[in-house]
């Protein structure tokens, strides 16, 4: 326990009306770690991300990013968090470069063109696309701009919401590589996903979210892909029954 956790969720409870989305979720994430939150639709993955970003406040428990309470000081928490949503939507009339510099300005960073190009290159966006309007970008290209934004931010925590859904296999593979590279630079990565195949490739730990809490934590490298899938389905049905 010598290393301070980047993200710590302790007994987090969140209800929407009469429906309980999270019922005592515990989760800790350290620098350089990639954590995959698995779960069916409605399991509470997006709620968890919204709580970390401070878009929602927990009814009970605490959510801390680098020891900062995301519920009471969401802006400070967000300053330490980069987030790539499932659908990275950009200003369609602006180029990838302009979008990156706009979001950097929002984050309080003043980055010049050269620096922006470095991040786009690191995110894997082909140079000929940098100055083209984002309206012509594929989902993968937009996601790369999202990664570039995250890279520019140099945050300690990276949140990914269904990062590989809708990506073609080569783009997904490239994305996996980028995430691993980020982790190796010391970034803690939390991703909410359905994609067991990529989870196995990227994640150090997998939490199966069921019944509003992590029903089981799995080391994905111990299992073959088909075994992982079987285990995941078994955990879910167990949680349901």
């Amino acid at each position: 326990m010598a290393v301070e956790p980047v993200l710590a969720l302790g007994r987090v409870v969140k209800q929407f009306g009469g429906r309980t989305a999270l019922s005592g979720l515990d989760l800790t994430l350290r620098a350089g770690e990639v954590y995959a939150l698995l779960g069916p639709n409605g399991a509470g993955k997006t709620t968890t991300i919204n709580l970390i970003l401070g878009f929602l406040k927990a009814d009970a428990g605490e959510v801390r990013v680098c020891r900062i309470d995301a519920g009471t000081d969401p802006i400070a928490a967000r300053a330490r968090t980069a987030y790539i949503p499932e659908q990275v939507a950009l200003y369609p009339g602006q180029s990838g470069l302009e979008n990156l510099r706009y979001f950097a300005t929002l984050a309080g960073l003043a980055i010049d063109r050269a620096e922006a190009e470095t991040h786009l290159a690191a995110a894997g966006l082909a140079p000929e696309a940098w100055s083209r309007p984002a309206s012509g970008y594929s989902k993968g290209m937009r996601q790369k701009v999202g990664i570039a934004i995250a890279l520019a931010r140099k945050t300690r925590l990276l949140l990914l919401d269904e990062p590989t859904s809708g990506l073609d296999p080569s783009a997904a593979a490239a994305f996996s590589g980028t995430v691993r590279a980020a982790a190796e630079r010391g970034t803690a990565v939390l991703m909410a996903t359905h994609d067991l195949y990529r989870v196995r490739e990227m994640a150090d730990r997998v939490g199966v979210l069921a019944g509003g809490r992590v029903a089981e934590e799995i080391d994905p490298r111990r299992y073959a892909h088909t075994d992982l899938e079987r285990l995941y389905i078994a955990r879910l049905s167990g949680a349901v029954t």
Binding site: L53, R78, Q87, A89, L106, G108
Partner: protein
């Protein structure tokens, strides 16, 4: 921290808005509309000046005609000249030669708004008859199709089209980002929603204020508007402040609509319906309210009253009694002159006084109504930003209802002053008729043509200045209140 984040963001937003083709298309269309409004305003003002010049020419012509006729008839010759053809006959001159006009000249800012000018005349020929009961019968019978559709003046562009341009540019800021899903990525950045919204709507406000003020100035310059008499610079500055407030108010309304987080369709619908309510529905309701608070008296009832009194005057020996009483009141020492009662001129003066007394309450009622409607309109105008600005532009242009009511009152006063000028002279001529020469066709000796009072034209700069100040204050108040509400609502993101 906030300020250091806000200014770069504001610059970025300014760049973003100015790079959109839609922005330039809207601003260009607005500029064209402003120039067209300025052009129609300049044409209208030129028309009003031409009408006033024509009235002045006609007055000069009538004076010339009278002097020429007086000179012709002052030479002995055999010819019958009836009193209505004789300028040396004070009564004949007053009723048949004199062309006296009450005029309402355009103010230095008249180009701004057509206001009441299309339906209320700026030139009224003074008449001494009572056949039409009221004096405000003059009007320019024009194309009613055009009157119904309304003028394309600067006021129309500023009051109706500027908010639409604001809505088109600022109406879907943040709401469009919300619909496109960009908002989630924006919200994930470490920045307060108020700073993002402030930058987005602040940038829109800066661009729109510059476009509207600059565009209006350009439109005025292109319309040939140059000089501003002393005392009007403050009014112009206050008008600009009111106009800025009007633009900021609509930007704030856009921000408030965005802060409801209902998406662009709802934002646009809310804003356009709000615009329709503020510019069309609310003024229509205020119109109904003014009619209730200052109901117009019946013109037909007054016509009926005028006919009753006319009927009474000519029935039996009423005319003789009225004339005798009038004469006794005016010239108490003439009881030994029963012949005076028989003269048509004295009979007519007595009849006019009789009619005037009978119709005075009706005329006063109508004048009070015009003033009441103007006063209530000025008060109620503050309930809608559109009517507030409309009233301000009308007042600056001198085409407002209050100025017209005052103009009607001064036209009545002028008519009374003319009557007061001629009455003693007519009486004197009837008492002691003196021909200008023996054997001349000229019957009497009236020649005070140049001493006839002239209508005192007034351009009250104070009303325009005060109205502009009140309007600027009100509009800024509403704009800041809306901005404050939006600011409160932007406490959190809705993602």
């Amino acid at each position: 921290m906030s300020q250091s984040r806000f200014l770069p963001l504001l610059r970025t937003e300014l760049r973003l808005i100015l790079r959109e083709r839609l922005t330039w298309a809207i601003l260009a269309a607005l500029q064209v509309a402003l120039c067209l409004g300025g052009h129609t305003g300049a044409q209208r003002v030129a028309g009003e000046r031409a009408a006033i010049a024509q009235a002045s020419d006609d007055a000069a012509r009538s004076l010339r005609d009278a002097k020429e006729a007086a000179a012709r008839y002052a030479v002995p010759r055999a010819m019958t000249v009836n009193y209505w053809q004789d300028p040396t006959h004070a009564f004949g001159y007053m009723h048949y030669f004199l062309a006296a006009y009450a005029v309402k000249p355009p103010t230095p800012l008249a180009v701004l708004s057509a206001g009441q000018s299309e339906i209320q005349p700026a030139v009224m020929k003074t008449s001494f008859g009572f056949s039409t009961v009221f004096e405000d019968t003059a009007y320019e019978l024009g194309s009613s199709a055009a009157l119904r559709l309304g003028p394309f003046d600067l006021a129309f562009v500023l009051i109706y089209l500027v908010p639409l341009a604001v809505i088109a540019i600022a109406g879907t800021r943040l709401a469009a980002e919300q619909d496109a899903g960009i908002l989630r990525l924006i919200a994930a950045q470490p920045v307060h929603p108020r700073i993002v919204a402030g930058a987005k709507f602040g940038a829109a406000a800066l661009i729109l204020v510059a476009a509207v003020i600059g565009g209006t100035a350009l439109a005025l310059a292109l319309a040939g508007w140059r000089d501003l008499p002393p005392g009007w610079a403050t009014t112009l500055a206050l008008l600009a402040a009111a106009l800025c407030a009007y633009v900021v108010l609509w930007v704030a309304a856009c921000a408030l609509a965005a802060s409801l987080w209902r998406g662009a369709v709802a934002s646009l619908t809310i804003l356009v319906l709000t615009w329709a309510c503020v510019t069309v529905v609310l003024p229509a309701l205020l119109g109904l309210a003014v009619d209730k608070l200052a109901p117009p008296p019946s013109r037909i009832a007054a016509i009926d009253a005028s006919r009753q009194v006319q009927d009474a005057f000519y029935r039996g020996d009423e005319a003789a009694k009225v004339t005798a009483a009038w004469l006794t009141a005016r010239l108490p020492g003439t009881t030994d002159r029963p012949d005076l009662r028989e003269t048509p001129q004295i009979n007519r003066l007595a009849r006019d006084a009789f009619y005037e007394t009978t119709l005075a309450p009706y005329r006063a009622g109508m004048q009070a109504r015009a003033e009441g409607a103007a006063a209530w309109s000025a008060r109620l105008a503050l309930l809608s930003p559109a009517t507030t600005l409309a009233l301000t532009l009308d007042t600056a242009a001198g085409t407002d209802a209050a100025r017209h009511a005052a103009f009607l009152a001064s036209a009545s006063e002028y008519r009374r002053s003319l009557r007061a000028f001629f009455e003693p002279r007519i009486l004197a001529q009837e008492l002691r008729p003196a021909a200008v020469c023996a054997g001349c066709p000229a019957r009497l000796d009236f020649d005070a043509y140049d001493a006839v009072p002239r209508f005192p034209t007034v351009i009250a700069a104070d009303a325009a200045r005060w109205q502009a100040a009140l309007s600027a204050l009100t509009l800024w108040g509403v704009a800041l209140a809306l901005a404050g509400l939006a600011f409160r609502r932007f406490a959190i993101w809705s993602v």
